[in-house]
């Protein structure tokens, strides 16, 4: 499969990495988690979700783990995904980069207050 660019890291890919920082999740779990952590601003559709997952898999930032049943969602077998250590590192680097950006933004006083 073609290599897809992860530099700069697309925000969907970053959100997926973040969503997997806690538990291993299946596709729908990731989508829900992303929705939750962005306050509903980002709802990943199947196309975006799975193409991002594919990219992340190829870059070995996440890995697929054995199928198992989600007891909460019927008894269908689902593929679960887990963050790899490379993925965790990349997510951290991206977070740092954003934090830097935030620092600049704050210095330029484009943020109201300093609640961030």
């Amino acid at each position: 499969m073609p290599k897809r660019k992860l530099d700069p890291l697309p925000s969907a890919a970053f959100q997926i990495l973040l969503s997997l920082a806690g538990d291993d999740l299946h596709g729908y779990g990731i989508m829900r988690q992303v929705e939750e952590q962005t306050d509903g601003r980002m709802r990943l559709g199947p196309g975006t979700l799975y193409s991002s997952i594919q990219t992340l898999l190829e870059a070995k930032l996440i890995e697929e783990i054995d199928q198992r049943e989600d007891t909460g969602l019927g008894h269908e077998r689902r593929r679960y995904y887990r963050l790899t250590s490379a993925g965790r590192k990349l997510a951290r680097a991206e977070a740092d980069r954003l934090a830097d950006l935030l620092r600049v933004a704050r210095a330029k006083k484009i943020l109201r207050g300093d609640y961030v």
């Binding site: 990943l44 559709g45 196309g47 975006t48």
Partner: protein, 522 residues
């Protein structure tokens, strides 16, 4: 149901994606559809999905390319042509079939267009029309029936781009009708015959200019033609036809016919210029049946160069229009509250729009309308459209053989505050009703918007563009194909047949009676 729809949408993705994640994508959809129910969330789900398709589909397909490039490097063998394919699986038979049908369809379409597309030359027409500008506008003026409008006409004539002249029959009708006789050698004076421009390219009485006709290529004197001259005119006519005529196939056929007739020696006996022009016209029309196509002979020297419409001429025209109240001879209310308007031309809208609008406003409360066009010698299409605008409550297409379909071909209905759109309309016609006035009659008749009372109209459609062949011969050639939604024939030569055929002199009385009867019935 919705799952099926989504499954279909998923097929839009490339096969490698479908293979890897199709099931999961569908599962995700099921999950979301299960969880997101309700009036708000369900449409939102679909919005999400469509937005997702729109953003991820191109990405999925674009990603195929880097792979292709990568593969190419490894496989490229020396001197051996190679093919790169986007997918490594064999195409489905259905896809192959569909592709075959599509390419076959495209092939057929192209060949059909190549053979039959010659009839339409929109690009050519527009480029040819662009330099005409104001001049064409005035050539469409036809006969304003006004002494001073002559100046404008004359310039249009002189431009060599004037619309085609009327046939001898119509010319005779005109002169018999008693409007005015063409005045020989009177190209600049006021009061010249309005019929003259109708007869623009007909033989005129000798003019002073004829005296120094030494520039004549033809050496034609008092209508004697020699073989060289005939040959010259025929070959020029053929060249013009091929270059300008609206339908190339027909042009080719007409050219062949002209050549054939010449070869058979059918033209050899003719020494009279006028007769020769008629003969060639007949030969062309036998093939094309196009009454707008005409080859004409002028005893007077045809002007050498097109002249521009001058501001002075237009100023004179404007002055004359103001003086004559824009050729609005009479506006009044008859018995039974029937509005009557006698309009003797359709003057330039830029000069006369307000006058025309005022006139229509004074008739706004009439119960019926009579347009008296018995002395109307034509005018500008946009004034025709303006007047017609009052008769409809929605934009209506007006056919005009001179022009391609343009914005001006439509009435500007509805006119704010206008109450006339549903009132019965009568148009009085005579054999002197000409050109633009005939357009008004023809369109209103075809649209069944008016009852025509009077005589058959003059039959001047003037749709060709004039091409000078030499000092004495020229050709009116239709170059554009205006869409006539009503029938194939317009009023060229034949005129517009009235609905109620009475003598022009009695038309008003008859129309008023019909109108009154109709109003009583209500």
């Amino acid at each position: 149901m919705s799952e099926k729809i989504y499954a279909l949408l998923l097929r839009l993705f490339p096969s490698h994606f479908r293979k890897a994640y199709g099931d999961e994508a569908l599962q995700l959809f099921r999950d979301r559809a299960r969880d997101e129910k309700g009036l708000l969330r369900r449409p939102r789900l679909w919005l999400d999905l469509l937005a997702d398709l729109a953003s991820s589909l191109p990405r999925e397909y674009l990603h195929a390319e880097p792979e292709l490039a990568g593969a190419a490097i490894g496989q490229h063998a020396k001197g051996v042509p190679t093919f790169y394919v986007l997918g490594d699986e064999r195409p489905r038979p259905g896809a192959l079939f569909l592709g075959g049908v599509l390419s076959l369809g495209a092939l057929v379409a192209v060949s059909v267009l190549l053979t039959h597309g010659g009839n339409f030359r929109p690009l050519l027409v527009s480029t040819r029309q662009s330099p005409r500008g104001i001049e064409t506008r005035h050539s469409a003026l036809g006969n304003a029936g006004l002494p001073s409008a002559k100046a404008t006409e004359e310039s249009a004539l002189a431009s060599g781009r004037a619309q085609m002249g009327a046939s001898p029959q119509t010319l005779r009708t005109v002169t018999n009708g008693g409007t005015a006789e063409p005045q020989p050698g009177n190209s600049n004076s006021r009061g010249a015959a309005s019929a003259e421009s109708a007869a623009a390219w007909q033989p005129r009485a000798p003019q002073p200019r004829d005296a120094d006709r030494t520039t004549s290529v033809t050496g034609v004197d008092s209508g004697t033609l020699n073989a060289a001259e005939r040959k010259h005119v025929i070959s020029a006519a053929i060249a013009d036809l091929k270059q300008y005529y609206v339908d190339r196939n027909v042009a080719e056929k007409m050219a062949n016919a002209l050549e054939a007739h010449a070869k058979n020696g059918e033209d050899d006996a003719i020494t009279d210029g006028d007769a020769f022009a008629h003969q060639l016209t007949k030969q062309m029309r036998d093939v094309s049946h196009d009454l707008h196509l005409e080859l004409v002979y002028s005893q007077g020297t045809l002007p050498q160069h097109p002249t521009e419409e001058t501001p002075e001429a237009f100023a004179r025209y404007r002055e004359a229009m103001v003086e004559s109240h824009c050729t609005l001879e009479e506006v009044k209310i008859l018995n039974d509250n029937i509005g009557y308007l006698k309009l003797n031309s359709f003057p330039d809208r830029s000069v006369c729009e307000s006058t025309a609008r005022e006139a229509m406003a004074t008739l706004n409360h009439a119960d019926a309308l009579i347009f008296d066009l018995r002395d109307n010698r034509g005018g500008m299409p946009d004034m025709v459209a303006l007047m017609a605008s009052y008769l409809f409550d929605h934009p209506e297409y007006l056919y005009n053989p001179r022009e391609n379909t343009t914005r001006e071909s439509w009435t500007h209905s509805p006119v704010p505050g206008n109450k006339l759109a549903d009132k019965p309309v009568y148009i009085l016609t005579s054999a002197r009703t000409f050109s633009g006035a005939e357009q008004f009659c023809y369109d209103m008749k075809m649209l069944k918007r008016a009852t025509l009372v009077g005589e058959r109209t003059g039959g001047a459609a003037h749709s060709g563009v004039f091409h000078r062949i030499d000092d004495h011969f020229g050709m009116g050639i239709p170059e554009t194909k205006a869409i006539n939604p009503f029938s194939n024939a317009d009023w060229a030569e034949t005129g517009v047949e009235p609905d109620v055929n009475v003598k022009a002199a009695d038309a008003l009385e008859v129309a008023a009676k019909i109108a009154a009867k109709k109003l009583q019935k209500k």
